[in-house]
């Protein structure tokens, strides 16, 4: 099985495991691994211990520096778990990779002490260095992948969260748009709105764009598409909540929205109520009317 260097590393790992472990843990703690409070001392100790024993087992069963081999699979999965949990806990990439790279110094020290032959030591250190580099890179890979998954999930959640269709009254829907309108979100918004129109038998929909940071020609086009689709379904759309600066920018850009637009949601709601032949009155006025009959 193993060549000379492997044997040295294996022996060192076997014989001085405790010393290496203590060294490594002290080094990690001195490097501030616990300072942020995101990980407990006991947890870190367990991780170090498991990693070392896994490393020993892997080195013992395999020859060359082939880290994709079967013998390293349990070590890799363990490292993967560690870096995934660190990505979720909010560690930086340096801190995550540092966990593996900081093992170099204790290992080199141990190898130095283990033998007198300079050539053997050099070869062993070279091998160990390669091994740890590769494991460190693997950690970063998993770390980055986990971060990307988190980002993708958040993007999905944001786009779902920010496109609710709200029923304001019988036949009146509101669509508060929050965030930038790109084509993907427009599609979601359109589908949600049209489905809600069918489900609720809505006659009028208010698209409130108070939460849209900028409106450029593309955004306007997306809005117009949504409005055209709603019209095809037989529902009218009113736009509300165009902020003053945005209105100015739109005029300067030459963007035209040929639809009814109101300054705020309340005005748009009043218009929508009028369209469905309803109105809002104060209780006082209502009781006066009930007492005296409608004013002539």
């Amino acid at each position: 099985m193993a060549n000379q260097t492997d044997v040295t590393l294996f022996k060192v790992l076997g014989g001085q495991e405790h010393a290496i472990l203590t060294d490594w843990q002290n080094l990690l703690k001195a490097g501030g691994a616990l300072q942020t409070g995101r990980i407990k001392e006991a947890e870190l100790d367990t991780q170090c211990k498991t990693f070392l024993s896994q490393l020993r087992a892997s080195v013992g069963t395999d020859g060359g520096v082939d880290k994709s081999g079967n013998s390293y699979s349990s070590l890799r999965s363990m490292l993967g778990d560690i870096s995934r949990s660190r990505a979720v806990q909010g560690f930086s990439p340096t801190e995550t990779a540092g966990f593996v790279f900081s093992l170099k110094q204790p290992l080199f020290n141990a190898i130095n002490k283990s033998s007198d032959d300079a050539a053997t030591k050099a070869a062993s250190i070279w091998y160990t260095s390669l091994l740890l580099d590769e494991l460190g890179l693997y950690t970063i890979d998993v770390f980055a992948k986990t971060r990307e998954e988190i980002i993708a999930r958040q993007t999905r959640e944001i786009s779902e969260l920010s496109t609710p269709v709200v029923k304001l009254w019988d036949g009146i829907l509101a669509l508060p748009v929050i965030g930038t309108l790109d084509s993907e979100r427009t599609q979601t918004i359109m589908e949600n709105l049209l489905q809600a129109i069918v489900d609720q038998g809505a006659e009028i929909a208010i698209i409130d764009i108070t939460g849209v940071p900028t409106v450029d020609t593309l955004t306007a086009q997306h809005l117009l598409k949504t409005i055209a689709a709603a019209r095809l379904m037989g529902a009218d759309c009113v736009i509300s909540g165009i902020r003053p600066q945005i209105a100015q920018t739109m005029v300067h850009l030459g963007v035209e929205l040929n639809v009814v637009s109101k300054a705020n949601l309340a005005d748009a709601f009043a218009l929508a109520l009028a369209r469905v032949n309803k109105t809002v009155v104060s209780v006082k006025a209502l009781s006066r009317v009930q007492k005296n009959g409608p004013a002539e």
């Binding site: 599609q187 809505a202 095809l232 037989g234």
Partner: protein, 133 residues
């Protein structure tokens, strides 16, 4: 040849499309409808497409054409019951059917046409017995 039935309801015509539209059928419908509007002096045309799952650019244009022709013959076209997916497709195709009125279902579409017929009656200052039929 297969034809789509056109029902007369007072001053309005009612068309429910319940089969897959192919181009010849669409053209036949356009012709029949034009003849009926002229023959009955109809004031409104209601086209129910709630059963249509696929509307291509040709059918979309045909709806626009029917609306334009009926406007010339003094009738209002209302397309009702369009499905959400169809609406999105038409918008993506760039067909907003601006000349066509729309409503969510037949009931609301009929109300729209009725309003137009009533307005006509008021305009002329006479009672139109066709709307009572």
């Amino acid at each position: 040849m297969e034809r789509i039935p056109i029902l007369k309801m007072g001053a309005a015509l009612l068309v429910t499309i319940q089969v897959d539209m192919h181009d010849r059928l669409a053209m036949a419908l356009e012709e029949d409808l034009t003849a009926k509007i002229a023959g009955n002096a109809s004031k409104g045309v209601l086209i129910d497409i709630s059963a249509l799952e696929i509307v291509d650019s040709f059918i979309g244009r045909m709806l626009d054409n029917i609306a334009a022709v009926s406007r010339m013959l003094d009738a209002e076209t209302v397309v009702v019951g369009m499905r959400p997916a169809v609406a999105i497709t038409l918008v993506e195709l760039g067909l907003a059917l601006t000349g066509v009125k729309t409503a969510l279902n037949v009931e609301r579409g009929m109300a729209l046409i009725q309003r137009r017929i009533d307005a006509d009656v008021v305009d002329r200052g006479e009672l139109d017995d066709r709307s009572a039929e």
